[in-house]
């Protein structure tokens, strides 16, 4: 009997296919195309304590097999999320993961505290709340906060430690490929009590509009995602998976069942789909079905059989 089920940091998922933050909204828009119950989980759009308008100007630009984005964490803020989105999300039979950013340490801590409190309150009322937190210390598209916390290990340590202090929810830290040393960063997260790490967020990157003689993006740099970065993401996941014993969630350019298998063989406990959702609106359904078929064909009953075998 084939089973795709997995348990990430104490959260059971029916399969390891999770929708990545910022590429799936809060799941509403995709409902019509992919039944949420098919998915392992959905990570919501990156949240901050206060609502954010995001960046001005061009936000999306395609590169060779890659996508540059400079959305800049536009989001309704944690309070509005809890009020307007969470009920809907928790109705679906899929793990609900909240992705949290912040302009400073205080904001991270407050945002996480609010969500944790909310989850506890809901539990007392026998209602589902947020299942898991993904701490985003790796957004390259905001001037303050975001990636600045994710580059140097010692700076990140503070955030992870303080957030860990205020939450009992399963906590995954999302790492940046722009980190000075991503392995060291992951080891730090494990030491500070994170329940898992997810990687990678986007690469800081650039495109110049040569006609107008200025950067395409008002923020000068933007974040690169998509198939272009997959080989680098895979290497990083492999390195990190060998260095820590908490679950590693692989992210970066995943666009096929083969890619999922590669990340799993490199040690990923689950994976996230980002840019591929834009390429194929029904990505989630396609990949869940495809993964099951692959397991059947290859007589792999559980992904544990191939996880980390490289």
């Amino acid at each position: 009997m084939i089973s795709m089920a997995c348990n990430i940091a104490g959260v059971s998922m029916k399969n390891p296919i999770i929708m990545a933050s910022g590429t799936y909204g809060f799941g509403r828009e995709y409902q019509e195309y992919v039944a949420p119950a098919l998915l392992g989980g959905i990570v919501g759009k990156g949240l901050t304590l206060h609502p954010k308008d995001g960046n001005q100007g061009v936000r999306i630009n395609e590169t060779a097999s890659g996508l540059l984005n400079s959305v800049g964490l536009e989001n309704p803020g944690v309070v509005a999320f809890l009020k307007d989105e969470l009920d809907e999300m928790t109705r679906w039979d899929t793990a609900v993961i909240a992705n949290i950013g912040g302009a400073n340490l205080e904001e991270y801590v407050q945002a996480v505290a609010l969500i944790t409190e909310n989850a506890q309150k809901r539990r007392t009322m026998n209602r589902r709340g947020v299942d898991m937190l993904e701490l985003n210390i790796s957004c390259p598209n905001v001037k303050q906060g975001g990636m600045q916390f994710g580059v140097q290990t010692e700076m990140a340590r503070d955030v992870v430690r303080q957030v860990r202090n205020v939450t009992t929810l399963p906590l995954v830290v999302k790492l940046s490929p722009n980190a000075e040393n991503i392995t060291e960063m992951a080891i730090m997260c494990e030491k500070e009590g994170a329940d898992g790490v997810s990687l990678i967020n986007t690469f800081s990157a650039m495109k110049i509009d040569i006609r107008r003689r200025r950067s395409v993006f008002e923020n000068t740099y933007a974040g690169l995602s998509g198939p272009a970065i997959k080989p680098i993401a895979l290497r990083m996941v492999h390195q990190v998976a060998q260095a820590v014993s908490i679950p590693v969630i692989g992210i970066g350019g995943i666009s096929s069942v083969e890619d999922i298998i590669e990340f799993t063989m490199a040690g990923a406990a689950a994976i996230q789909i980002g840019t591929y959702n834009f390429i194929q609106l029904r990505a989630g359904a396609e990949l869940v079905e495809g993964l099951e078929q692959w397991m059947q064909r290859e007589k792999v009953n559980s992904l544990d059989e191939i996880r980390g075998i490289i």
Binding site: G25, Y30, V58, S65, I279, L281
Partner: protein, 235 residues
């Protein structure tokens, strides 16, 4: 993505193509589909307005500007195309006198509106060469065409209770200025680079008086007074 078969894909003018695709497709004037060939390059599908809808087919009028549209233009009848839609809000249902003002490729989404409102006056402006004019002439009471110069000069907003417009930013801005002080209500169709097309990625937002709005979801059509006109930067 949903696969469909191409019925025809022909050049109307240099770099301007009409593609007809087989199938029962839905869609209202001003809505769009996301189109891509079966290749894995380029990455993203391209937003293209609905040009026309038949009983068992849908058509798109498009200009070859980069690799995505170039690839579309090379597809042949019988080959497959992937498309999803219809997306966006489209032009509103209105009553009363109506002007349709299109510039260049911006004429594409107006054909369905012209069919829907046969009494509308149509204004079509082109930079160098006109295309697709006959399709409007076949359905509209009045069609004015200008090649070179500004079609906006020929429009008297005071004559229309409503105006729908789509075209290059300078044209939209000129028309907006001309409308100021009249009681005419102008709706414009806007463009943004898009990724998801369904409102999830926030890649296509435009600034409006009431905050960011998604061109793919709340748009592409907005009442002109909502949009910050200086945010209509060409992409």
């Amino acid at each position: 993505m949903a696969m469909a078969m191409i019925i025809s894909n022909e050049a109307l003018a240099p770099q301007i193509y009409v593609m007809k695709v087989q199938g029962d497709y839905k869609g209202k004037m001003g809505q769009f589909y996301m189109l891509r060939s079966g290749m894995s390059y380029p990455l993203l599908p391209r937003p293209i307005s609905i040009y026309d809808i038949g009983e068992h087919d849908i058509s798109f009028l498009y200009r070859v500007v980069g690799e995505g549209t170039q690839q579309l233009s090379k597809l042949l009848p019988g080959q497959e195309i992937k498309l999803e839609g219809p997306f966006g809000n489209g032009f509103p249902q209105v009553e009363g006198s109506l002007g349709l003002i299109g510039g260049g490729m911006g004429t594409a989404p107006l054909l369905l509106a012209a069919k829907h409102y046969p009494h509308a006056h149509v204004y079509l402006g082109f930079a160098e060469q006109s295309f697709g004019v006959e399709a409007f002439q076949a359905v509209a009471a009045s069609v004015q065409v200008k090649v070179g110069g500004s079609i906006v000069e020929q429009v008297n907003p005071a004559r229309y209770k409503y105006m729908f417009s789509c075209g290059p930013t300078p044209m939209l801005q000129a028309l907006a200025l001309q409308t100021v002080g009249t009681s005419s209500r102008l709706y414009i169709s806007t463009e943004r680079h898009m990724a998801c097309g369904i409102g999830a990625c926030l890649g296509c937002t435009i600034r409006t008086r009431t905050g960011n709005r998604r061109v793919c979801k709340e748009g592409p059509v907005f009442p002109v007074e909502e949009v910050e006109l200086d945010d209509l930067h060409g992409m």
